[in-house]
Every structure is written in C-alpha cells, then in structure tokens.
Symmetry: D2
Subunit: 383 residues, 4 copies
C-alpha cells in the first residue's frame, strides 16, 4: 500500500502567496501528506492557518524550532520527514540547516539563502548530515524546459554559441512598498531579501534557466543594475552580458518595472546548427529552429518527446499543463528520489532532475556577482 511522505511547512500562513502554491504542488501527485507546520511567526496566525488546512492542532507550532524539537521525538510512523520552507529569504538558512541537523529533508524556496556564504555553509550541513534539498526553481520543472535541456545535451544543435534569457515583470512599476502589498514589502527590503531585489527574485530564475537548458556555466558577467522607482531600496531592474565556460556568450535581463508584462520568462539557446526557444506564456510548446530546414513545434504530452518530458507531464497533448504542474514536478521528483533512498533503490535519472544545493550556490553566486558588477566600473566581473 502506498505511503505518502509526511510533510511539514515553515511559513505559508494565511495571505502568503507561495506557501499555497507549495501545498498545491505537494498535493497534485499525492506523494505527500501535510502533517504539521509553523505557518507564521505569529502563533495565533499559525494556529489559524493550520486549522484552515485541517491539521491536528497539536501539530501546528509556534516556531520552527519547536516544530523540529517536537516532531523529531514523534514515532517514525507519525513524524514529519520533509519540511518545506516558504519564508522570505532571511528565514531560509537557519531553518534549513536546523532541519537537516534534526534529520529532515528540505524543500526550500529560492534564492537558497540570504548570502553566498550561507549557501556554502548549507552545503556543508547537507554533506555532514546526508540530508537532501530541493530548491524550487519552478521553471525547470516544465516538461518542455526539460526537453530543451535534453535536446541541447544531445548535441543536435552543435556547440552552443549564444544564450538569451529574460524575465520581464511589471508589478513593481509603482511604489508598492507602502500599499499593504506583503509580497512587495519584503522583496524590496534588504534585511529580508538580501543584496538583490529583482536580481534575486527573478534574475536568479532566469540565470538558473540559462544554465539548466544550456548545460553551461557562466564564468563572468557585466551588469547594469537599476533602481527605477523612486524610494525603492533594492534593484527593480537589471541586465547583464554573460560569458560561459565553453566560450559562448549571452544576455540576461530581468525587470519588475516593465509595465504590462506578466511573468513571461523566456529562454533561447543557439548552437551551430539550430536553436531552441521556450517561454512561459506558451509553456507546453518548445520551438526548435534549424539553419536549413523548417522550425519544429514540440509539444508536451506527445509520443515523440523524451523520457524526461514524458515523465513530467500528466495529460495528453493539447490539454495544457501550467505553473502548478511544473511546481508539482519538483515535488514529485524529490519524493521519488526520497522514496528510492528509503527503499535503497537507485533513483532514475528523471527523478534526480530537480534543482538542489549546487543550483542554490550558483544562484547566490549570481546575486553576489551581478550586484558587484552593477556597482563596478570594471567591465567584467569574474565568477
């Protein structure tokens, strides 16, 4: 009989956006059961959130420390196995490190930590404890993004020469910070968000997507980082020229002041023989362009996609799967990996295809370097 992974959550109380998304993602494929949570630093709010989620009140905690303590003492058949941390960035490192030390695996919202040093430290904790971490870079959960990575890796496009990635948003076009917009408030507050605003919030997604699809690593960059809206404390806009470890170059931009843009993250990768293009607005489609033959439209749910794309979709072609399913793919692949470990089985390659600590460190490096470059008069900043 199927057993679900017992999941706890830190953050994600009433009114939070991403916590609800994590919970839906956890439910879609039925691999998890939410058993406990510390949903807010406000105990009353945590209790109320737990109640509205139908949790046993005894397992709704006032703090994550309390949760780790109490849960770790429960019998194995009951206690939390994995914890989702969906708090602002400044509350990432400590609960993640504590969770690992108490024997829990971790699902963590991006960016991984507040600083690069924390990210490196977290890696050490993971190595010491043997715990696993899944970092929710959602966009790499889309089946067609996985297909893109497979196609690039197959060599069909030849050596990669150029990578363009962009993430335009418009929702911070005005000064939202004082409008009771909780999402805006912490994301623009250096004490909670870290060194970067837009670059940390969505620039890291774009960066992750570029490295994931191309299979390359950025080695240096040259950035223009801007605070466009008056009074804002962190960047709300930026762009960077990129150099990759195989000699390819690229362009990345991310902005939160492109008024009217929704969240149409897009990546294009060009090799000697052709290129690929994917964008979230048409997430079930991957375009392949060729130097000397018609472009091809690859679609999720079809019979011709790779095992990686097939594994990460649920419906026949033409029935769109979206952001929540992409998110669910991260949860599901992490669960399949954890279950394989439990059963001492070798996880399949598709199951291991979720972002983790290395991607987290890359992301924190990006944040450090893109902000450093933005403040520098030197053209190139090395990674």
């Amino acid at each position: 009989m199927k057993k679900k992974l017992k999941l706890g959550m830190i953050g994600g109380g009433k009114g939070a956006f991403i916590g609800a998304v994590h919970r839906i993602a956890a439910r879609i494929d039925d691999e998890y059961e939410l058993v406990c949570g510390a949903f807010s630093s406000d105990p009353a709010k945590s209790r109320e959130s737990g109640s509205s989620l139908g949790l046993n009140p005894s397992r709704v905690y006032e703090s994550y420390e309390q949760m780790f303590d109490t849960e770790s003492k429960l019998p194995e058949s009951e206690r939390m196995e994995v914890v989702s941390i969906v708090t602002p960035n400044h509350v990432h490192f400590d609960p993640a490190a504590q969770a690992m030390r108490k024997g829990f695996d971790v699902i963590l919202d991006k960016p991984m930590t507040l600083t690069l040093q924390q990210a490196l430290d977290l890696k050490k904790v993971a190595e010491e404890t043997g715990r696993l971490l899944c970092l929710t870079h959602t966009y790499t959960g889309y089946p067609m993004v996985k297909e893109a990575r497979q196609i690039v890796a197959s060599g069909k496009l030849g050596a990669i020469r150029k990578v363009y990635v962009e993430y335009p948003q418009g929702w911070l076009s005005t000064f939202e910070e004082d409008k009771d917009n909780k999402q805006a408030a912490w994301r623009t507050d250096p004490s909670k968000s870290g060194k970067a605003g837009a670059m940390g919030d969505i620039g890291t997604h774009a960066f992750n997507l570029a490295e994931y699809v191309s299979g390359l690593q950025v080695t240096k960059l040259c950035a223009d980082i801007n605070i466009v809206v008056k009074g804002r404390k962190l960047d709300d806009d930026g762009a960077a020229l990129l150099k990759f470890n195989n000699g390819a170059s690229g362009v990345l931009f991310a902005t939160q002041i492109a008024a009217g843009e929704e969240n149409n993250v897009k990546v294009r990768v060009f090799g000697e023989k052709g290129g690929i293009e994917w964008q979230q607005v048409d997430a079930n489609t991957l375009q392949l362009k060729w130097l000397d033959k018609p472009a091809e439209i690859w679609r999720t749910g079809t019979g011709y996609v790779s095992a990686f794309a097939a594994h990460n979709s649920r419906t026949p072609s033409g029935h769109p799967e979206g952001y929540l399913e992409a998110f669910a793919n991260l949860y599901r692949n992490f669960a399949l990996t954890l279950n394989a470990r439990k059963e001492n089985k070798q996880p399949e390659a598709q199951w291991l295809d979720y972002p983790g600590i290395e991607e987290g460190i890359r992301g924190m490096t990006f944040i450090e370097k893109v902000i450093e470059s933005g403040e520098s008069d030197n053209k190139w900043t090395d990674f």
Copy 2:
C-alpha cells in the same frame, strides 16, 4: 477546523486516463478526501488500484452496488458523501441513480448517460432525492471561458449573431480499435459509447461550450456525420450548422481524424459590436475584438477580470493554469456548493457555476439530434 468532503470513486482503475485526472482535480484545492472506491469491475484490479492510492483495503469494493451498501451503513463521520463516476458511458446512469437514491451526491463524467431517456430519468431521480450532480464538462471550468460567458451576458457585445465552435483531434486517424488502445476501444463501441462516437466524446464538449459562452440554446441543426476510418463503428467526424433561440446561427465541428491536431477546442462568439475568441492552446487568454477599436487581450490572474474568472484561478497572471486546474474548478465549485448546503448557507453565484443535469440533458439531446440529422435527408432537425 476544515473538513474535507469524503469522496468515493467508481472506475478509474490502473491504466484509465480520466480517473487519474479526476483524482488530481479533487486534490488540487484540498476540498475532498478520497476514502473509498470501486475502481474496476475486476475485483483484483480494483484492490490493486485502491492499494496504490493508499486506501484502506476495507473500503476498496468489488462493485459499486457493494460500495453503496457498505458505505451507507458507515457512521456519518466516516462514510462517503460524494461519488465520482468515471466509467464509460454505459456505466453512468445506473450508478448515478443508485448513488442518489442512497443519499450520495454525484460527480459524473460526460456525456451524462447512454441515451437521452436515461438523462431525463436521471433528472427525475435527482428531483426525487434532492441530490446534486456535477457533470465534468471541463472546458467551462477555464477562467477565461467563464469570463467570456460573463462578457457576453453583460451585453457589451450587443445581441449575439454568430457562434463558431470547433474541437479538432487527430488521435483516431488510424484504426486504433485493435491496437490495445483502451481509450479508443470503448469510445468506438456503440454498446459502451452510445449512438455517437466523436459527437458524443467531443462534440458534446463543443456544444456545451457554445451554449455556455453564448448563453443561448440551439433550436435546430443540420449535420454531416462521417465514419472516415474504415471498419470503425461510430462517427469519427462531424459538422453541423446550428440555429439558436435568439435567431443567431452557428457552425460546430468536431473530428478525431484531423491528423496532427491535439485538442485545441476553440469557441468564437460575435455580437453586434464585437466578438470573443478562446482556444484551449492559449487557455489563459481571451481575445475581445471590437468593430471600431483595438482588440483586447484579457488574461487570467489579472486585476481587471470579473469575480467569476478571479474565483477560478490560483496564480498571478503570467503563470499559466491549465486543464487540470480547469477540472479542479468544477470539483471546487461543487464542493463549495455542497458545503454551503451542509451549513444551510446560500451558495455564491460563482460556486453554482458548474455543469449539472440540465447541461447533461442538453448534451444528450445534441447527441440524439446530431446523429438523427446526420442520417436524415431533411435539412433541419429540430431540438
């Protein structure tokens, strides 16, 4: 503390397609808990399916009759409240009618029954028992389809003059019936599917979409119904000219032999001042076209959509929601309605916006009439 609706399922055993979709839909918004099932007419298969779903073996049944009997005797705090029936068409009426008579509400896959007479009978059972029924015409669960209906109803487009609806598929372009394709096998078998093949399977969806969005009713039609693939027993292709109750006219086509087409169901409605266009391939977008000003692109998750669209989406604009979320909207609205009844509250208009028995009767009438017209030399067949 939140209580979930206790859900049972009939059909949807291992290898079935739509059963899994129903279960995901039921989980997404956490309004249901699957507590029991009769997943297959093969008891072993039913048990195996129940086990893989993590159900208590005592609540995995060998038949729906057994399930109704046993569950109805359980204490209220445990027993099933709602049953999802996800079997082929010939196993719709009887379990649905029995369920209602035993006091269970019903979620039923479309088309509602095998014959129009069964549909009319089911309505009587519902009236006698006071039970509610949700019919899973998924496409009306999309937020932008709901928005389309609201816009038409608002009168902004003026009186409606023309309705075009289409549902092209290609998956039955070859003779799949003898290829161990379970989906194809029953859908092309008159004893399981009923009078119609393509017209019943997807023609009813197109028909439902046309009536839902336009707010009109078809009064007569003229159909060309074809069996294109040799050896097939039911229609795999068809088209119909339509007349509506306000004098508008329309065109409907549905086909399963449009090789290369996925499931791009599309509807267009034109009034005196403008028109709307929606298609599943770009499900988060609704186009409004105007006689004398620029067309508008309405998108899910934005601040300007109606309460109906807003209520039926979960993510901010730009993060696509797809077919599973549309399906989940039916489940959620039905749950909200059932819960309101439990609490003796008046359900909100948005909650009541799910397809039910009336839509089922319309769909069965369409099937009867479109097939009758296809066989007739008379031009118009009245509804």
Copy 3:
C-alpha cells in the same frame, strides 16, 4: 532590352479600392506599363483619374467600347495588349468578352461574371478567340498557399479527408449601405453584385482556396445563408457543409458580420498522415502538422521551399511579403505566360499557376449552388 506589357484598365477611378491595388500589383514586378484606361462611366472622372496617373490624355477613354475601338487601331508597338477589368460584377462579362474579341488578353476581378451562364459564355469566347484570362483570386497568389498545394499534391499527407476554410469579416456589421460607403453599396445591391453578397464577395475566395489547396472539387453542399443586418438585400453571412469528389468532406464559412474580424481567411486540409494550416494574418507561414512527429513551420523566402513558393517571393525569409505581393504574383505569372506565348515558348509550370476561366466557372457554380442550397429544404445540393 526588356519590353513591358502594355496594360489598359476599365474601372478603378478615384476612390475605388481594388483598382489601385491592381495598379500596384502590376507595377511591383515591372512587367506592365499602364498605357490607357476607361476609369469611370463618368467621363470627367475618367479623365481626372487618368491625369492623376500620368497617362496621356488621348488614351484616357470615356467608355470601354471607345477604348477597345481606338486602341485596336493603334500600331502594335503602341496599343494596349492586356486589359484589367476592375469594375463591379455586373460590368465583367461584357467588357471581358468584347476585349477578347478585339484581341486583348484580360485580367478580371472576381467573381468572374454576374451569372453562371455568363461564365460559361465567356469560356466560349475565350476558346473562340484564343485569348487568355487571369482571374484575381488573390489568396492563391501567396507563396505559402502555393506551397500548401504542392505539399498536398505530393501525397505527403496521404489521401485528403477533411477541408476547413473560413473567411470572417466584420465590416458589414452595421447597415453601411446608406453611409456613403461605395464598397458596401454595390456589394449589397443585387443588380451589381448578382445573386450573392458575402458568398460572392468572399465565399468565392474561400471556395477557390479550398479547391486550390486540396486539389479536389466540391460535388455537393448544404448551406445556411443569412441576411443578418436588417434591410440588407443580399446575404452577409453563410456557412456550408461540403462534399468533395474523393469522398472527403469539409466546412466553409464566410461572413461579413463577425464584428472585429479583419480579413483573416484561413484554410486547413487534413490527410491520413497530417494536415496543413494557413491563414492570411500570418501569411508567410505554413504549418504542417503530423500524426506522430512535431509540427513544422514552413516560411517564405527560405531555402527549403518548393520552386512554386520560391518563384512567388522576392525577399529573404523573415522580411514579410503581403497581400500586394500576392496580388503581384498573379500579374507576374500572367505576364510571364503571355510573354512566353509571344515568344512561342512553353511557359513554365510556375508561370501557368494563376487562376483563370475554369476557376471562374467553379466560383460562379459555387454562388449559384450555395444560394440555391440556402433557399432549399433539401439537405444536399449537387454541383
């Protein structure tokens, strides 16, 4: 040294729409020189139009009869060789027949004549006189429409099973007839337009496109023909179910009351193995869809298109060619054919690929039959 064909024009005076389009089409590839014209039945207007076109006043005529008389007496080195007839439908047959009898080849706007009988008569005149006629069904001049025809003809898609064609417009959504809209006035006047309104004006284009691309012929149809706008004298909307000579079926619709639609004529043809889709709004693209592999995006101006598409475009891929170039392709191919005849050369297959009298007769048959069917209680009307 290159010699241009000497062109005359009937109709197309100041304020006319399609006359100016014909003249641009004639100029684009520099195969014609406009030498004379009878631009209006109003002599003063004809003179004024000729003057604004820079014509020698001695070759601007008061009537087409006068033009034919005078021009036929000029020395060969000067006289008109081809005449473009761009008048409303009721002034098609007579000038075309007279022109042929006077030794002039003819370019004629569609539909070919006012009645089917005139079309058949015109064919006789052409046979008797040996004159050639080009009928300006513009949409078949698009390179990707030609490519579509070639792909269907190649058999790559297998036997054709289904044809969908549509031509939605919105410009007659209100009663334009009394608003000094010259285009609307004659098109809705039976004495000038003939039996059909929308069906003659754009239905014939859709019909021509369906037969051209599929390589098939309609054998019977069942039509719903409507006058939607009150007070209008001719149909402004219609749809038809079609049967083709190979057993395929289809759907055609054309409307002028789809408020907000521009002129997005679209054709889809499906065979056993795949399908093609083309629409004017994205005229430089042809989609090929396959049963079991990714769809392909074929584009004008690329290296992989057939000789037919290549011959009919001028710019490298990515630089769009539009409606005027499609129109120019008809003019150019007709010129190349006429020049080949002059030089006693065999025209190439690509040059002969322009619509002519047979297409004109098919179009007039369509008009007769679609209107007959619209008025009939019988389901099918044979061609």
Copy 4:
C-alpha cells in the same frame, strides 16, 4: 498631370539583392521613374542590367562619375533628379557627396558611410548644397513602428524607462565568405563594410529603431562584441547595455549566428504606465500593454490608428503589408517631400517622417562606439 521623379541608381546590378528591393520600393507608389543607372563597376554588367530593366542604353553608365556628368547636362525635363545609392558601404560617401554637389537629391542605403567622419562630412555637403538625403532604415517605414513612435510621443505610456531591441539572424552561422555568397563576402570584409560587421549591418537598424520609437538618444553603452565563426574578420554577434538621455536604460542585441532565426527584428519600450511591442514577423500588429488593463492589439489599416500609420499603409486591415511596402514608404515620403519643395509647399509632418542625415550620423556614432566599447575594458563608453 502627375509627373514622376526621375530616378537614377548606383549599384544594384544583376544578382544584387538590395538594388532590386529599392526598385520595387520606388515603383510601388508610382512616384518615381527609373531613367538611368550605373549599376556596376563592370561596364558590361552595368549595360546588361540596364537592358534587363528596359532603360535606354544611352542612359546606362559605366561609372557614377560619368552618370553625374552626363545627366547634369541633360535638359531639366529629362535629367535625373534623385539618385539611389545601393552599393556596399565603402561606395556611399563619395557618390553621395558628388551627387549633392551636382544638384541631385540622394537615397542612400544604410549605414550611411564607412566612417563617422565621412558622415559628418556628408552633413556639411548637404548643408552647403541644400540637397536632401533619405537613408533607408526600412524598419521605421512600417506603419505600426510609426504608430509606436506616435504613442510613445503622446505620453500615454508615461516617462520611458526601458528599451529592449533585438535583431537576430542566423544566415552567417557558417563561414559563408568563401561560398560565392556575394552578400556575405562584402559584409564581412572590413575594407567594404567598415569597422563593424553585424553591428553595422543590423545593429544599426536595431539602434535606429530604438531611438526612433522611444524618441530618446543613447548617451553611453557597454558592449560585448564577438567574432563567433572562425576565420571571420568582422563581428558577427554583439550585445550592448544602453543608457538614454532621459535616464532610461536598455538592452540591444544583434547577431548573425543565431542559427534558424530569420530577420525578426523586435522592439519593446516600457514607460511608467505601459509598454509597446513590435516585431517584424507580425509587422501589421502593435501590442500595447498596460499596467492595469487588458493589452491591446493595434493593427494596420484600421480606423483607429494615427495619421502617421494611416498615411503609410495601402490596404484595409487584415490584408498584410510587408517589408517592400515599408521600404516603399521611405521612397514615397521622400518623394512627397521633394515634390513639396518643387512646388514651394510646406511638406506635411507625415511626409518628413523618413530617416535622413541625422539618423545616419547617429548610426555611424553607434558603430564607432559599440566597436570601441567591445574592445575596451572600461564599462561604459560615452557617445
């Protein structure tokens, strides 16, 4: 009676690409008559080209010097008035300067000259002689690009904050220089192309588009300039971060090694309240995006566009106009301006809306600066 401008041409002999495009552009609106040419530095080839164009052999010249001499002595009623220079970049300045000194107005292909100094010198010649110059930055000839500029200028979008412009091509993905590809040969040869390859050929177009639509001027940039294909002598790829004179920032990229890309030049401009997006692949569409209401789709040929867009299109909405029509708009507006001068009339604002010497100087400055920046270790290079 209408009189056409008498046009001569330098370059554009058989096999040349852009010369034929210029001639079509000149013919479309019938404002010019090609009367003479020096089509090649090879006299035989020039004669052959002139003959195939139907020119009087006495007016086909062996060199542009000879053409200027001879033509300037012809009576005014016969002699050339305007000359189109369609040669590679190293043969721009001298013929343009000579033409002006001989009293001819000039249409010149971009980039204006080989060096910035030549551009500044040419401006002086123009000022001394009073001659006018039209520089064929084609993309600003598109009606929807003009509409975009008008919308930005109207202030509807608020202050401009961000400009993205891109021009991806793939045709130089392989080493074409030794494959008898005439277009590739001169464009990659510094002696003919100048300091820049891709940046000069298409980067200048992107730059011009960015400044034209935004109404802003670049004040500094930071560029990454690459030679991707081995053996190539000039850049085939580049990207630049931009700063504008109002404080806005931007990103420009242009590449000729994006395998599979056609010529989809695209520009996006965002202000405080909304943004616009235009791309050549869908040239008849302009997207307006708003912070808080549905995006709008503006289309050519509609009733709601500005006088600038309306003036620059010929067909009703839905009938696409393309690259050749955009090119023709430059020719037509220049002709209308020249004719107004002849008649001592004030040209209308729409007529004067063609690129000229100032745009040429901006383009040459861009080339100098983008290459300088590419070679520099300093982050920002001032204009």
